[in-house]
């Protein structure tokens, strides 16, 4: 399947500083259609019928989320656009925000109309402060054109915390608190920001809304696999000739993305979905990219044959341990212990029992962590053990051998 520009259709075509160029391309017609020709429930039904699922990583059905918030009791309802793109190797939202802020605003206006929100937030990560002026300019121009008559959109900037991309931590951060994850239930759709019904959608999810309303749900459903409709925007980096942002129809093979488009060769493995993402070995590149298989946030990091798997997984866990919010013990302690064990294994000081300990820890963390950080952290560990067990065992047997030679051990 070739590249398909649905979300990225205006990127590098319009001038992101000038709404006129966006309007010339049919911008904000979907909002007019939603507001003038459809009831909020009809908008929700259309999004539900399209099969659109969240593009931030969790993949929850977007229309269902909206419906839950729409039906929830509450004087005030909130919409939040999650622009806290912190997943390692993910930069597609940065690309979208920088090149087409108007479609995002249109998507937000439609979402707010559907659930009855009068106030919306864009939670922008601190590292993307360089996009703030551009976004404010786009909001101002959309406001001047009357597209935000019923909606007050505010940008809230983060302050450097990966965990704030997790929806409950994000809401705590907007509330001016530590970005720690919340226990669920209650879910944000019934009790979110300040206890009011709230929907939190990723930038890319909202970018899909205007085309779905304009072209209709069936058009969208015609793309993709049975459970993954539409396209996905991927960020490709690492050992590739052409790192960058690519949009493909759901279900396209990983090989097409990393080899055909990004120009990778001698691929040892690919990590899909950031530091806590799945690891695919080089001989399985024909796997389709979809919610049924692998997807996550669409961050794709490619590693060639020169790379050390244990070192990479150790670095994944270093990141996750540092960014764990510390609220729940399984994640706070589990990620630290994993860093210690993987560090030992990576340096050649590990033993067989370290592998057993990693597996036990993984099971415990997946079962008992409060949010996706701790639940997802074991994924690269277990995947690397499954696909590259021989590398762990080689390193262990070499270190066991070295330990029998006191001199060699000290000079290592």
């Amino acid at each position: 399947m070739p590249q398909k520009r649905l979300v990225l259709t205006n990127c590098d075509v319009i001038d992101p500083r000038d709404i006129e160029t966006h309007l010339e391309r049919g911008g904000f017609r979907a909002l007019a259609r939603a507001q003038n020709a459809m009831t909020p429930d009809e908008v929700i039904e259309a999004v539900k019928a399209s099969g659109l699922r969240g593009r931030g990583g969790a993949g929850f059905n977007c229309g269902t989320k909206w419906q839950l918030a729409s039906k929830a009791e509450g004087d005030e309802k909130f919409l939040i656009c999650n622009a806290d793109e912190g997943e390692v190797g993910t930069f597609k939202d940065r690309f979208i925000l920088a090149k087409d802020p108007f479609t995002l605003i249109e998507g937000m206006a439609i979402a707010a109309y559907a659930i009855g929100a009068k106030r919306a937030y864009i939670y922008l990560r601190a590292e993307y402060h360089h996009l703030l002026d551009l976004l404010n300019n786009a909001l101002r121009q959309a406001g001047e054109r009357g597209f935000l008559e019923h909606l007050d959109v505010r940008i809230v900037e983060g302050a450097g915390a990966y965990i704030c991309g997790e929806e409950s931590a994000l809401m705590n951060s907007i509330e001016g608190r530590r970005g720690e994850a919340r226990y669920r239930p209650p879910f944000p759709t019934t009790s979110g920001l300040w206890g009011s019904p709230t929907i939190i959608n990723n930038v890319e999810t909202l970018m899909n809304i205007p085309p779905i309303i304009a072209e209709g749900p069936q058009w969208f459903r015609d793309m993709g696999t049975s459970d993954s409709k539409g396209t996905k925007v991927f960020s490709v980096s690492g050992d590739v000739a052409k790192a960058g942002v690519y949009e493909l129809v759901m279900g396209s093979p990983l090989r097409e993305l990393v080899v055909d488009l990004a120009g990778a060769s001698n691929v040892k493995m690919v990590q899909v979905g950031g530091a806590a993402g799945a690891i695919v070995p080089g001989h399985e590149l024909d796997i389709p990219l979809s919610y049924e298989t692998i997807l996550g946030s669409g961050g794709v990091t490619v590693f060639d044959e020169s790379r050390d798997v244990i070192d990479i997984v150790h670095r994944d866990l270093l990141f996750l341990a540092e960014e764990s919010c510390g609220e729940c013990t399984p994640c706070r302690e589990g990620t630290e212990v994993m860093v210690e064990i993987l560090g030992r294994l990576s340096k050649g000081d590990g033993g067989e029992r370290d592998i057993a300990a990693l597996k036990d820890l993984s099971e415990m963390m997946m079962l008992s962590s409060l949010c996706g950080l701790g639940q997802g952290a074991p994924i690269p560990v277990l995947d690397s053990l499954r696909h590259f067990r021989n590398e762990y065992e080689d390193r262990i047997s070499k270190s066991m051998f070295l330990r029998t030679l006191p001199v060699a051990r000290h000079t290592k």
């Binding site: 993910t90 360089h130 001016g176 980096s237 960058g244 990141f319």
Partner: protein, 139 residues
Amino acid sequence: MPGRDHEPLLISLKQAQEEHTCLTREVIIEISRSLGVPVSDVFGVASFYSFLSTKPRGRNIIRVCGSVPCYLKKSQMILESVADKLGIRPGETTTDGRFSVELTNCIGACDTAPAMLINDDVHGNLTPRKISRILKSYG
């Protein structure tokens, strides 16, 4: 349900940091008083976020990305090069207060790895040779 008294806290801390360069004990107590939020909560927020600092930092903050995509492109070499040129180690501030250097996590510039942030500016496709010229533009 939680009240909205904390809402201005994060923004107040950011503003105070711009004014005073870091969030000292006195600044934190002052914010606590003016917002009517417990000191422990103010300190809790101030110490949670990596862009907020309770210790003095330089006028320009260099954040070299050390996450995997940049690591694959030898980010360690960039960090060493920056630290060498300034004569400080990561986590330290130059004696003239001009720069602080930190290792940071993914800044979303993986397509131009290795990358770093200086204040709010992204610098990508870095090589040790480019570092001096970039540093010169920050007073």
